[in-house]
Symmetry: C2
Subunit: 168 residues, 2 copies
DNA sequence: CTGAATTTTCAAAATTTTTTGAAAATATAA
DNA sequence: TTATATTTTCAAAAAATTTTGAAAATTCAG
């Protein structure tokens, strides 16, 4: 397989992969393109390479910057903005975990806490089972939360990073 | 908050949560409904409770059964099939991890392995950087794979489960 | 400032995904 | 076996999401 072909295949697969994770295809493709690109690219470069419109590139690039996966890079002498992806995949994973935790896990745990405060007879079987399920989810969510926090801090945390190394 | 209200809220939030993870809203809602339901439900029960069509219930229930999150339960004397969700959330999480690993991570790692076999000059800067990114992703993917395997096997594995307990 | 280059916005169009519901298939009781 | 209940399928409709592209806003060199 040739390099160009391999790049193309990677970009397409990364895009398909993304859709399974609730990320839209184009955003994942742009991310993939920037991952395998030697230099930072402009919006026009991306438009041309992926054959998509200016507005589309602009919105999805913004999304990637919001996720902390892509950086705006200023190249002196060049007028246009350039964009580059973080290439250390461990950092990418960490960043995604951090964001999803903040955007999804934390609010869900908060909601579960509220749902635990229903006013119902403690002896009501229905209510009892509901509370069991809810607090079970909350407990597991909190555990996940702690583990993820440690992973995020692994670089600064000798203990966690040695444990993680044991799995490598 | 009343129990009925809390259930409703839980079902809706779980549905919204699902869409962020590439699961369709209805499937997540059915899952939530079964989670907080005291008895197993029939397709008709679900139709009525969530106000959705028969076909929709049928397809999504099948999806949940495929994911191993819901079981068909035979109730003697009753003609209709009943369905019940696994309520131990740790098992639910394990099952989801197992399936996603099989359906997504494993194929992705396989693809990355293929992409490493491009025929290009090892000195070509483009090619070199591409291979670095690809093998970086593959390495991280493999690490995740190992960690997830251990989590899945945690119940049967003293070592892992004691490590996981340390985080609780 | 001015004006050209670049970026952003957003309503409308295109596409993709989900849902419906009726028909077909299957299962079960009598 | 026959009649009825139940489940499954799937083409068409509806809904949701993504994409386009042109206009508006912003940036910046001169």
């Amino acid at each position: 397989m040739k390099l160009t072909e391999a790049k193309e295949q990677f970009i397409n697969s990364w895009g398909a992969f993304g859709t399974q994770w609730g990320i839209n295809r184009t955003m994942a493709q742009i991310h993939a393109l920037l991952l395998v690109s030697t230099q930072p690219l402009t919006q026009d470069d991306i438009m041309e390479y992926l054959n998509i419109s200016r507005g589309n590139v602009n919105m999805n690039i913004r999304g990637l910057v919001d996720w902390g996966l892509v950086e705006r890079v200023i190249i002196s002498g060049e007028r246009k903005d350039h964009f580059a992806a973080e290439k250390d995949i461990w950092k990418v994973a960490t960043q995604i975990i951090k964001e999803r935790k903040k955007r999804e896990l934390d609010p869900m745990i908060k909601l579960l806490g509220q749902l635990e405060n229903i006013d119902a007879d403690k002896k009501d079987k229905e209510a009892k089972q509901f509370l069991e399920v809810i607090s079970g989810i909350k407990r597991t969510g909190n555990q996940a939360d702690k583990i993820l926090d440690l992973m995020i801090k692994a670089e600064e945390n000798w203990f966690t990073s040695s444990i993680l190394k044991m799995f490598k």
